[in-house]
């Protein structure tokens, strides 16, 4: 069942969504939420949607176009959902809204609208009024007038109801967004220090870290800008502590110089880019996957990097830990490409699943030498055995060296004979990512016999799952987790035998398709792209796939 609540920012639509989610969680229901943003703090149109108990093939229900119940505050909100409700009887709203069936209208106050709407959808979802009431009371610390909630319930019960649904057997369920998962994974992976600067949609990461880190002896700092954030992270990492930074568009630009510096001094550094609509300040509250080229190529060259991307919310728990490991193992920057949808999407997940994903990745620190160890005849940047050099951190006796962004020799000295240093040290540094051994560079979906192979990352994951579930004989999928270096062998194997490869991405220029074009056999692939800031619903995605064969941007060649 798909439900929606739509009103104005400031009316508490998000609050209603949060209360609803909590009751759904406590009942062990399977769901995914979606919320709409606006740069307008008070007065912009805003929606909350929940996709409950639908099975679209992935970790949680994917977004669907068809809505069962939509509760709208005014005419503009009604416009949004009129075409999406399966039947007009699914439309509920304030008495002033034309087009809402008479039986579904009520005289509403702007302040109580959210609770009324909560009553309507909770009833339709078969949630018990007691549960919802208790959750609301808890949320508002008892200080709330619940009358609209009850009226909403009554209104919905009056019409055809779907009847109470049994709570599932596994009520130990968590609600998790991509941002949550990232933070949990990071802390589990040993992160105890975090420096961040607010930016949509990465602010939550700073906020979670500020709330949680002190509980485990850690510290979060809100710093003055993204340049400070990345350089503080470099400092902390140099000093042996695990950390990462997260930002979005404008912030990732500002981190460019730090990226090359970390790579040059061979300090582990994990950078998360919660991509949003570009370019420039762009569409801060809208999703996009358009920073890939920057992540791959930004920074005056030439230095190594690894680029990862999670395939879903639960995967974030693992990817951030894997990123921390790869950064330590390769002593280089590891970039994690997230997107707004994946970062903010909330899903219900059995705690068991969270726990398993958290535990699956053991922390690997590679050749990091921590105090109280000591070393002798130490040369920080020497790697005689063809592997990586050993990295000491302050406090290790005999381990002193200087980490310089100037080109340097094996001891770190900045005025070496470049002609002897470059072919050895510089090449080693560049080539160390040629041998990245990443456990699961990609996740195949569906049957290897299906003729059309859909390739995507991040928020495309749930859609590819849904397409494969809808047409298992036609579609299979590849969810890429390692974007750079391109896992050519795995990709070739995964697309083997496909009649057609379709790269699906949220951007205008086909950045992923261009990256993969030289790897995909027959030198090309079709693309499905969207760049108006909206997510595909499953229905729209399937339609776009169908159209792709004929009309879309044609083949991308390497």
């Amino acid at each position: 069942m798909v439900i929606a609540i739509c009103g104005y920012t400031g009316q508490g639509v998000e609050t209603a969504g949060a209360i609803l989610s909590e009751v759904l969680r406590a009942n062990g229901r399977r769901f995914r939420t979606w919320r709409d943003f606006s740069t307008i703090i008070r007065g912009g149109l805003t929606s909350f949607e929940a996709y409950v108990d639908e099975d679209t093939g992935g970790e949680a229900p994917a977004r669907l176009h068809a809505v069962d119940v939509a509760v709208v505050w005014d005419r503009q909100a009604a416009e949004r959902y009129r075409d999406r409700v399966r039947h007009v009887t699914g439309l509920y709203g304030a008495a002033t809204v034309d087009g809402v069936p008479n039986a579904n209208r009520d005289v509403l106050d702007p302040v109580g609208f959210n609770l009324w709407a909560l009553g309507v959808v909770a009833c339709k979802l078969g949630l018990s009024p007691e549960d919802v009431q208790a959750a609301a009371m808890a949320h508002f610390h008892q200080r709330v007038n619940l009358e609209p909630l009850h009226r909403g319930y009554a209104k919905a019960a009056g019409s055809t109801s779907s009847g109470p649904v049994q709570a599932s057997d596994a009520p130990d369920t968590a609600i998790l967004s991509g941002n949550d998962a990232l933070c949990l994974g990071a802390i589990h992976g040993g992160v105890r220090i975090y420096c961040g600067y607010p930016i949509t949609p990465a602010s939550e990461i700073l906020e979670y870290m500020a709330a949680w880190l002190p509980e485990v002896g850690g510290r979060a700092y809100q710093v003055e800008d993204e340049i400070a954030a990345i350089h503080m992270a470099i400092g902390a990492s140099y000093a042996g502590m695990r950390t990462f930074v997260a930002t979005s568009g404008p912030g990732i630009d500002l981190m460019t110089e730090g990226l090359g510096y970390a790579a040059t001094i061979e300090v582990p550094l994990v950078v998360v880019d919660n991509q949003r609509g570009g370019p420039s300040t762009g569409m801060p509250t809208k999703t996009e996957q358009s920073d890939l080229r920057h992540l791959l190529y930004a920074g005056h060259w030439e230095f190594p990097r690894i680029v990862l991307a999670p395939t879903g919310v639960v995967d974030c728990l693992a990817v951030i830990q894997e990123a921390l490991n790869l950064a330590d193992l390769h002593q280089c920057p590891v970039l994690v490409a997230l997107d707004l949808d994946l970062a903010l999407r909330r899903i219900s997940v059995p705690w068991e699943t969270v726990n398993d994903a958290l535990m699956r990745v053991p922390a690997l620190r590679g050749r990091t030498v921590l105090p109280p160890a000591s070393v002798h005849g130490y040369r920080r940047f020497a790697a005689e055995d063809g592997g990586l050099p050993w990295r000491t951190v302050p406090g290790v006796r005999g381990g002193g060296y200087v980490a310089s962004g100037d080109e340097h020799d094996e001891r770190g000295w900045m005025e070496p004979d470049f002609q002897s240093v470059r072919p050895t040290l510089h090449r080693r540094r560049l080539e160390k990512v040629h041998c990245v051994r990443y456990d699961r560079p990609l996740t195949p979906v569906g049957s290897p016999e299906a003729p059309v192979c859909l390739v995507g990352t991040g928020a495309m994951g749930e859609l590819i799952h849904a397409a494969v579930a809808a047409h298992p004989d036609l579609y299979r999928g590849v969810l890429l987790r390692q974007l750079w270096p391109v896992p050519a062998d795995g990709l070739l194997a995964a697309v083997a035998g496909a009649r057609e490869v379709v790269v699906c991405e949220y951007n205008a220029t086909g950045q992923l398709a261009h990256l993969l074009a030289t790897t995909v056999p027959d030198g090309g692939c079709r693309t499905v792209r969207r760049y108006d800031g909206e997510h595909y619903t499953v229905e729209a995605f399937l339609a776009a796939l169908e159209a792709a064969g004929e009309t879309l941007h044609g083949r991308v060649r390497g």
Binding site: A174, I193, G235
Partner: protein, 276 residues
Amino acid sequence: MTLDLKAYENGNRPTWCPGCGDYAVLKVIQRALLELGIAPEDVVLVSGIGCSGKISHYFGGYGVHTTHGRVLPVAQGIAAARPDIAVIAAGGDGDGYGIGVGHLVHAVRRNLPLTYVVMDNGVYGNTKGQTSPTSPTGYRSSTSPHGNADEPVHPLRLAWSAGATFIGQGFSGDIRHLVELLKQAVSHPGFALVNVFSPCVVFNKTHDYAFYRRSVFYQETPARSSAELIQLLETHPFPLGVLWRTDRPAAARLETGPADAVPSDCMRRWLRGTLG
């Protein structure tokens, strides 16, 4: 093992110009640490980009030679992560008061325990003598051939205005004084700014050793009020010594080592608490 000065050197011969003020600053840092009994490997010397920034390359402990202007963020990252390690940040006037001045303001506000030594020579030495933020108005260089039009940065009153808890000033021409100053700075439990007049003998022909010998004023005790500090700075443009000191609490730092695991139950509670 008893420590001696050698332990604070790493065998690299400094490539500063003969007579450069930065030699003295290097020596002072080494001596101050020795006299404080802090082992070189329990220190990170973080430096910026510039002639001054080379200083980390001559230090026997840990060094970080950062990007231009970012010495304070890197130093703060280390200070926050490692309460067991002494952090000394060092760089030039261009690095710290020009491109990096925003970080200075915020580092002062944050008050993480570290010492910031600025080798103030009034020029961009490393890029060949251009006008810097501390070049006086009217100063002529390749980038201000008609005379510098800007008001110079006044580092001490700037730091005061941002809420500094320790402000000191020294001179490369008086090593003994500078060693004492630096020892106090390193012992300060918050952020300590130490501005050092460190002449560039090649490019800055006006602010040379002789100029400073003539101009400095030894201030024996820190100012006791803002008014006194401002008055001092207006009366004596080149005062030396610990000039300002307050005891605003330093920022909190990490409590644990890197290896502690977090019980997943704890996380479960968070998930419930924050998101439930």
